[in-house]
């Protein structure tokens, strides 16, 4: 336990420079894009005269230099103030708190389901590498992994919403339904089926691949040969030795995917009209809204760091060989 705590402390301290770098790079990257928040806004309202544009730039603080604005932002950040979104005319923290739960719900459900299903199918495929079952599952997973998420989302909508009318096309819940409690939860669940399906299927394929290839490798190891020679039943070798050891790389992939899923949710949230974090990032970029984009990226970075930290702790617990040196005295 002490080992894990040391690890957590070291990682948290180490993440501060990473976050500062993220802030500076994001700010400069958005700054280097042509056009500013005033351009984006003028366009959305169909134009305005020069004095009007100037007033907007002053109101947005765009008349100040890049460095002055970056410095102001970092100062505010030190007070844990995420700033003001010019595109929404609201505090960034309000927007983040409003959108983040939707994305976490979407991503969390998709990750949990795809991890469970992917590792289960991976065990099925990896139990006898090279068998017909393995080859079918492997080919199927490769195909699914190659499918673009937005396309799969649209196809699911056409089949299940337009043709079969089983599920809603989009949104997170029925609008202005007045539902409460369990009825509302069931309603949200129905709305989540397609986006979670579209997001999850692809990751299921990935987890399946990693699990299967890990197992195929472990079957060749000497300790498995030894276990067999001791006459341990195949089923026990499969679950306690092969699958358990193959689970380690899968946990690593889980950590990596939590970051990738934030990216994947940008597309899925747009297709399914879910007001989430990914869509917010997209709106921030097209509105040239630096404080909002940085708020989104910072919070995402913190989440990715936290998930990876958690993964490391889990990893250290799963495998005593890992983390010893870093967490040493």
């Amino acid at each position: 336990m002490a080992r894990a705590l040391t690890l957590v402390r070291r990682r948290l301290l180490g993440s501060i420079p990473v976050l500062l770098l993220v802030v500076a790079l994001t700010f400069l990257l958005l700054e280097s894009a042509s056009g500013d928040a005033a351009d984006a806004y003028l366009l959305s309202i169909g134009g305005g005269d020069a004095a009007f544009a100037e007033t907007l730039r002053q109101a947005y603080g765009l008349d100040q230099s890049v460095w002055a604005r970056l410095w102001l932002y970092v100062q505010a950040l030190a007070r844990l103030d995420l700033g003001w979104s010019v595109a929404f005319n609201r505090p960034v923290s309000d927007l983040v708190l409003e959108r983040l739960p939707n994305t976490l719900l979407l991503m969390g459900t998709a990750t949990a389901l795809s991890f469970a299903l992917g590792s289960f199918l991976g065990i099925l495929a990896g139990s006898r590498p090279g068998s017909l079952r393995d080859r079918l599952l492997s080919a199927g997973s490769l195909t699914l992994y190659a499918v673009p998420g937005f396309w799969l989302g649209l196809v699911l909508v056409i089949v299940f919403s337009v043709w079969l009318r089983w599920l809603p096309t989009s949104g997170l819940e029925t609008i202005a339904s007045g539902k409460h409690g369990l009825a509302r939860a069931a309603d949200i669940g129905r709305h989540l089926v397609l986006p979670v399906g579209a997001l999850g299927v692809i990751y299921t394929a990935l987890f399946l691949r990693v699990m299967r290839s890990g197992m195929a490798e472990i079957w060749e190891r000497d300790f498995i040969l030894f276990a067999r020679s001791r006459g341990i039943p195949r089923r026990r070798i499969l679950l306690s030795h092969v699958a358990r050891n193959a689970l380690l790389p899968l946990v690593t992939v889980l950590g990596l995917q939590s970051a990738a899923m934030l990216g994947g949710s940008v597309v899925i949230e747009s297709v399914f009209a879910i007001p989430g974090f990914g869509r917010l990032a997209h709106e921030a970029v097209s509105g040239r809204d630096a404080p909002l984009l940085m708020g989104v990226i910072l919070v995402s970075a913190v989440m990715v760091i936290a998930v990876n930290l958690l993964i490391d702790v889990v990893y250290a617990a799963l495998d005593p060989r890992i983390g010893g040196r870093e967490a040493g005295p």
Binding site: G35, L42, G46, A50, V162, T169, A273
Partner: protein, 533 residues
């Protein structure tokens, strides 16, 4: 001719009476209410139409906050009274008098008076509103001799024709009692709207929906027909079409269903495509020209480009027939101003090539005369597609156009601030009068950074003179004659090239009645819209 009452005639008339009765019953049912769900593709950060006069804002806000008058297919001067019942401009152009509707109350119960109009005009329309700043530039004062009269005083002669044409767009009236003495830009009533319209603003869930409720005390009796309008936020282009097909929404306006899907969706039982209702919201497809390039400063080169564009092909292939070829800077459905009597540029590649030879730009060994940088506005798929087409059309006359693509904000800056283009494709809007947002496209002397304006460095003293004269000509006939001259000069000298004009389409369930009932239908108050289910 004597009327013989036959059995057939009796049956026919009975059937007709029954049908009428049935229709009456249906309409009565509609007056009972219902919820209309429509697709919305954007969530304006400032929803106050007195400050932001844009279609995105009006789409929602026009049901809550009303202008002095609305566009009409049948009314005098194309207008129908709303908060004003009568209007008149003085012969010297220095004043305009509005008689206001009496007995109107705001949604919070306070009475609507001329003080609200005066406050909105002087504190919002003139200083803050994107279009009001132009239309009311010379507004000096608004007098309110009584609660139902507002007299606008101008410092310079201002054509009442322009004010009248702009009424539906620039005169949304907001309640003085909520805005007076506050920081108007930061007032919460900019988003939680309070108006006099047929619907009250009820609820906004960011990223999900807006909900408007019936205003039981609306001044027009028996209106609105609906109980509720819900705007469902669907940002994805494919979202509106699938939601319509799955019967989750009733209606998608502003071409939210892409043109390419229209043919298929019009065959879906229960859905129909309506093209009426956008006559006063005409978008123009134009090629903006940077006259700082020496090749493009030569009118022969500009004419060659105009001859190289096959407008019929553009209308047929890019707009799938939902547009018409343009002849000049004023669209054909602006009948008050439009003249067909201007130089025309028929599609003629040979003539275009001859003009370029004559201008002294021969083809090199690769068949290229010169190269240009082409930017297509990314706001509509049609503007992007036309960019691709224009590149090919120019290649046929030996002009190698490099097509660069930007997102909206970057395009805006490249064209209107940095002038980093040679040719650009733009979709400006004609707003009922050339003085509002059309002459600015060719007028000289505008500072950099003004979007949808002449940023191509074009300067023509004669054209500037006509524009300036029309801006202060009060006599309507004389003013129209000046704008006819304006159209002729633009078509002759081609400071820009007008290619096509288009309105939008609405896809609706056939249970929705009165879709497209006025020329600004999508951005009007929808008091007559009904759902019969």
């Amino acid at each position: 001719m004597p009327l013989h009452l036959t059995r057939r005639l009796l049956l026919q008339s009975t059937a007709a009476t029954l049908a009428l009765a049935a229709m009456g019953a249906k309409t009565a049912a509609a007056a009972g209410g219902g919820r209309l769900i429509v697709a919305a593709d954007s969530e304006p950060k400032n929803l106050n139409p007195a400050i932001v006069a844009s279609n995105g804002v009006f789409f929602i806000a026009s049901k809550v906050i009303e202008p002095l008058a609305e566009a009409s297919f049948t009314g005098k001067d194309g207008l129908e009274p709303r908060l004003a019942t009568d209007w008149e401009g003085s012969a010297d152009g220095l004043s305009a008098t509005f008689r206001l509707r009496e007995g109107v109350t705001w949604h919070d119960g306070k009475p609507f008076t001329s003080a609200d109009v005066a406050f909105s005009a002087l504190n919002l329309w003139k200083p803050l509103q994107n279009l009001g700043r132009i239309v009311f530039a010379n507004l000096a004062d608004v007098e309110t001799p009584d609660a139902a009269t507002a007299i606008f005083r101008f410092s310079k002669p201002t054509p009442f024709q322009m004010i009248r044409n702009a009424l539906p767009v620039v005169t949304s009236v907001v309640p003085k009692h909520l805005f007076e003495g506050t920081d108007i830009a930061a007032n919460p009533a900019n988003n939680r709207l309070v108006g006099t319209g047929p619907f009250k603003f009820a609820e906004y869930r960011p990223g999900e929906y807006y909900r408007l409720e019936r205003n039981a005390g609306y001044w027009s009796e028996d209106q609105p027909a609906l109980n509720e309008i819900v705007y469902r936020v669907l940002p994805d282009r494919a979202g509106a079409a699938t939601a319509l097909e799955a019967e989750e929404i009733h209606l998608a306006a502003f071409s939210a269903v892409p043109l390419a899907d229209l043919d298929r969706i019009s065959k879906v039982p229960g859905l129909q495509v309506v093209t009426k209702g956008y006559e006063a919201l005409t978008y123009q497809l134009i090629v903006e020209i940077n006259h700082r390039r020496k090749e493009l400063a030569d009118v022969r080169v500009r004419r060659a480009i105009a001859h190289a564009i096959d407008r019929d092909f553009v209308v047929r292939t890019i707009f799938l027939g939902h547009a018409q070829a343009a002849t000049g800077p004023v669209p054909q459905n602006a009948t008050e101003f439009y003249t067909p009597d201007v130089p025309a540029y028929a599609f003629d590649v040979a003539k275009a090539n001859a003009l370029l030879d004559e201008a002294g730009y021969p083809r090199d060994a690769n068949g290229t005369r010169f190269t240009l940088k082409l930017l297509a506005a990314p706001y509509f798929s049609e503007t992007r597609q036309f960019g691709d087409y224009l590149r090919q059309a120019l290649a046929k006359i030996g002009i190698d156009a490099g097509l660069a693509s930007n997102d909206s904000a970057a395009h805006q800056k490249a064209v209107y601030t940095d002038h980093a283009f040679d040719l650009a494709v733009a979709p400006p809007v004609f707003r009922g009068d050339p003085a509002i947002s059309t002459t600015i496209l060719v007028q000289s002397g505008l500072p950099a950074g003004v979007p949808f304006s002449n940023q191509g460095g074009y300067a023509n003293a004669e054209l500037d003179g006509v524009i300036a004269k029309a801006a202060e000509t009060v006599d309507e006939k004389a003013r129209i004659a000046l704008y006819n001259e304006f159209q002729r000069l633009v078509a002759e000298d081609l400071p820009l090239i007008n290619v096509a004009e288009w309105g939008f389409t609405t896809v609706t369930r056939d249970t929705v009645a009165n879709v497209g009932s006025n020329p600004r239908w999508a951005v009007s108050n929808w008091a007559d819209l009904a759902v019969t289910e």
